[in-house]
Symmetry: C2
Subunit: 303 residues, 2 copies
Amino acid sequence: MVFSVTVLGSSSALPTSNRYLTAHVLNVDERFFLIDCGEGTQLQLRKYKAKFSRLNHIFITHLHGDHMFGLPGLISTFNLLGRKHDLHIYAHTNLEKILKQFLAHFFTHLDFQIIFHALNHDSKELIFEDSKISVESFPLKHRIPTCGFIFREKARMKNIRKEMIEYHKIPVREIVNIKRGDDFVTDEGIVIPNSNLTFDQESTRSYAFCSDTAYLENILPIIQNVDLLYHEATFADEDSDRALETLHSTASQAATIAKLSNAKKLLIGHFSARYKDVKSLVIQAQKIFPNTLAAEEGLEITL
Amino acid sequence: MVFSVTVLGSSSALPTSNRYLTAHVLNVDERFFLIDCGEGTQLQLRKYKAKFSRLNHIFITHLHGDHMFGLPGLISTFNLLGRKHDLHIYAHTNLEKILKQFLAHFFTHLDFQIIFHALNHDSKELIFEDSKISVESFPLKHRIPTCGFIFREKARMKNIRKEMIEYHKIPVREIVNIKRGDDFVTDEGIVIPNSNLTFDQESTRSYAFCSDTAYLENILPIIQNVDLLYHEATFADEDSDRALETLHSTASQAATIAKLSNAKKLLIGHFSARYKDVKSLVIQAQKIFPNTLAAEEGLEITL
């Protein structure tokens, strides 16, 4: 099953000639989950071949323009494409009013419903789940209320050892139960432990999105052991005073969070336009957390 | 003096993987005039090297999202860049309320003034002029009130023939008057006609922007003899029923307007996303008006 993240925008508030505004798209088995929606997101979704008809959930970290000015255009495009099914937006409670007020000037009605889900800015909360993934939000520390998100693949059923089906003459109706973890009891009443009958699927995958935020150790227990940690690194270490002032993070701070949370891989982004080249930020982070890479438009990380 | 048009977006309402939403930028002697501002315009302005600090006038044809959803992001970027000087926006009167209401959610204040100029949708009107250019708006025919714009370079002062300065011993203080068209009177009272003393500068240049609009012959006297006519051609001739229904134009209709108005060059654009390739639209237009070319991102036309 595909579980991959594509970076659509890697810039902070001021875009550059090659860095777009913040947006990531997570592909889970060809369903697309959008995280933030800076201006130009619909153009990038098109460029990197996300299927608009399979994008039903948008997660907005906070209501700064560089994370959400792409929403009116994307919603307009959904309407032009004939969308009929619901669109779910998870964001600060104010977004509903802001967006409805703005869109009312352009559309007498949309052919689909937008379902707004207000985020909880006080504590971690499960905000979405289905048979394949769960999504939790958790508070970050920025100038306005901001949430991070963690996407976790659900544990899938075990694989059954085919030779055991024949050997123990396991009826078809029992197979689903065994895949779920049950033991098998033969006609003679002998219990065959599940561990003899199955082998585990590959481990479940997870991806956490932490932007915009100051250095915040509170998030460590929530994001522990994540496969991919995206953490903002707006500033290089030498500009830590600016990071402090604006409630952003430095490259070393992002790497420290990755190290302390035992992440497998760190992706840094939301780079200030002052850095023509972000190599030095990656080097600063790698000194603390070697498996670090820099976000750039079109980068796809398959987990 | 530079007088050039760069296409920033050539798509109609639905962008594609290589066509952005409507925006053109006119460079008049390194001052930049923006016409329409679809989503992503600030990214395209950056890509094609327009100087943000020298962009003071934005002309919005009409209040459909694909012509103006780039405004909040562009205004936000101006603010981040430390803009202090006024920004003039020429648009339908409703824009002021829509934009102020939306921006109020994101900025407690901007460090610069936005001066809104309400367009006249009943007749042609001079909306801007300085020493180098004039801009007129004129009504088009679309589903909501829409204006076209015509940018005209002003007649520049004549060039003086240097050999005549010496021959007639013309004092320095007289030179500006002669360049403006005055005759010169010698100390002996002899009148030297201006035509003996000067030669004309190259002719003045002009550019008209007509989008979105149905076929409309009313505009012919206004745009007569323009150097560059941008006219929308959302549809190919075989889709003329869709053009009629949505109050857009076909390629042949755009070309007919170019021919009847005696334009020097026609640029067609605002292409429907249904056309993967717009060659056939160019061929249809060229049958009526040979000097036609298709808008594409980054195309620069120097007049």
